[in-house]
């Protein structure tokens, strides 16, 4: 059969370029419309959530404000304890410094004067036995170095006196404290 008289249409229909353009434009429009619609829906949902949370906030604030004194009391106690915590942690531990310095001194020596502030301890020691001071300087002070004291940074002997009539020795020493 001659092809020129074959009236059957071809299997694949050829689309006109304008029709393709129409299909593409419809698809783009629908796509944009769906995206816009979805976003609008989501925006409405989020706004609704914001309103719900705001309503809950108002309710909680109302409950808190039903007894304002309770809130003020809680705030007062909270602030007071916060300040007390700071005070307790910032107070200088003078007693442990006293213990550290007194612990270095021989028991047989008399402490005739003792002064401590936040920088140094000044002690005046007296004894009728000279060897006590010898022991202090020869061995007891060496403890400072060997124990790496975390309280005393330096020891200075300020003066050493002896009363000739009644043999009594007095030493004045300054222990510089670590900050």
């Amino acid at each position: 059969m001659r092809s020129s008289i074959n009236l059957a249409s071809p299997l694949v229909a050829e689309h006109h370029p304008v029709e393709k353009l129409l299909v593409v434009s419809v698809c783009v429009f629908v796509g944009v419309f769906v995206v816009a619609g979805s976003m609008l829906g989501y925006l409405v949902y989020v706004r609704n959530e914001v309103s719900k949370v705001a309503a809950q906030e108002t309710s909680v604030i109302r409950q808190i404000n039903q007894n304002p004194q309770q809130k003020v009391d809680a705030l007062i106690l909270k602030e007071r304890l916060n300040d007390i915590t700071k005070i307790l942690s910032s107070r200088g531990d003078i007693n442990s410094k006293i213990t550290s310095v007194v612990g270095l001194l021989p028991r047989s020596v008399d402490i005739s004067a003792f002064t401590i502030d936040d920088k140094a301890v000044t002690v005046e020691l007296s004894s009728s036995d000279l060897s006590v001071f010898d022991g202090l300087l020869e061995s007891d002070v060496q403890k400072l170095q060997s124990q790496k004291s975390d309280t005393v940074s330096k020891m200075t002997v300020d003066s050493f006196q002896v009363q000739a009539e009644d043999p009594r020795y007095t030493m004045r020493a300054v222990f510089d404290l670590k900050p």
Binding site: L21, L22, A36, V60, Q70, L88, N95
Partner: protein, 220 residues
């Protein structure tokens, strides 16, 4: 020319539909979708803020109930005894004398550096706080006599465990006499500022521990 346009439209009228759809799509994109992106962002951040605020408010409500459930008046009184709102000279004197008596000491002298008594602003000035200190203090010098040096040391130790809270700045002992430079802490409280605060946080473990510590000091 008009004939030319009409002719063009007649020949290309099938393009009108796609063109209109494209224009509408671009319009929706520019006027609806893009502005909505920023709106959604704003609303989402607003929602996140609101949720965080609600959470804080709920936490505040729980904290208020929890703090109030445990003898709040008693605890406030105790906290104010430890850290008074004013220069409680009588209370300080009583404490010093009591602690001295517990250690077998006799109070020989008691002097107070009163300093600034009134400030219109109600603010803590640098003159009132000790150097490097955060709180104003009332500085006191106490002279005591004792039979032995150890009780003088013990006195300073016990003063640090008494209420109101104090710090021993300087101790000087000579032949059974002791001189102490003490600082007692105090701080006025402004309830109107406090009542404006929106949120209350629960007591921390450290603050609960501090409450226990001052309870122990109070029982001594």
């Amino acid at each position: 020319m008009e004939f030319g346009n009409a002719d063009f439209l007649k020949n290309n009228k099938r393009l009108i539909g796609p063109a209109v759809l494209f224009i509408l799509s671009i319009f929706i994109l520019l006027r609806v979708v893009i502005p909505m992106i920023s709106s959604i962002g704003q609303e989402r951040s607003k929602l996140a803020e609101s949720k965080a605020r609600l959470e804080k408010l709920n936490s505040s409500q729980n904290a208020i109930q929890e703090i109030n459930a445990n003898n709040i008046t008693q605890n406030i009184n105790l906290a104010n005894k430890a850290f008074p709102m004013n220069k409680e000279i009588i209370q300080i004197y009583t404490t010093v004398v009591d602690v001295a008596a517990q250690n077998g000491l006799q109070v020989e002298s008691f002097s107070v550096k009163v300093g600034q008594v009134y400030n219109k602003d109600g603010a803590v000035t640098a003159a009132k706080t000790k150097e490097g200190g955060e709180f104003p203090t009332l500085d006191i010098s106490v002279g005591v006599s004792a039979s032995d040096t150890n009780s003088l040391f013990e006195f300073s130790n016990n003063l640090m465990k008494a209420l109101p809270l104090a710090n021993v700045n300087r101790l000087s002992t000579t032949e059974g006499n002791g001189e102490y430079d003490l600082s007692f802490y105090y701080k006025p409280i402004n309830t109107s500022i406090l009542s404006q605060q929106e949120f209350v946080t629960p007591l921390t473990e450290t603050e609960k521990q501090s409450l226990k510590t001052i309870e122990e000091f109070d029982q001594n």
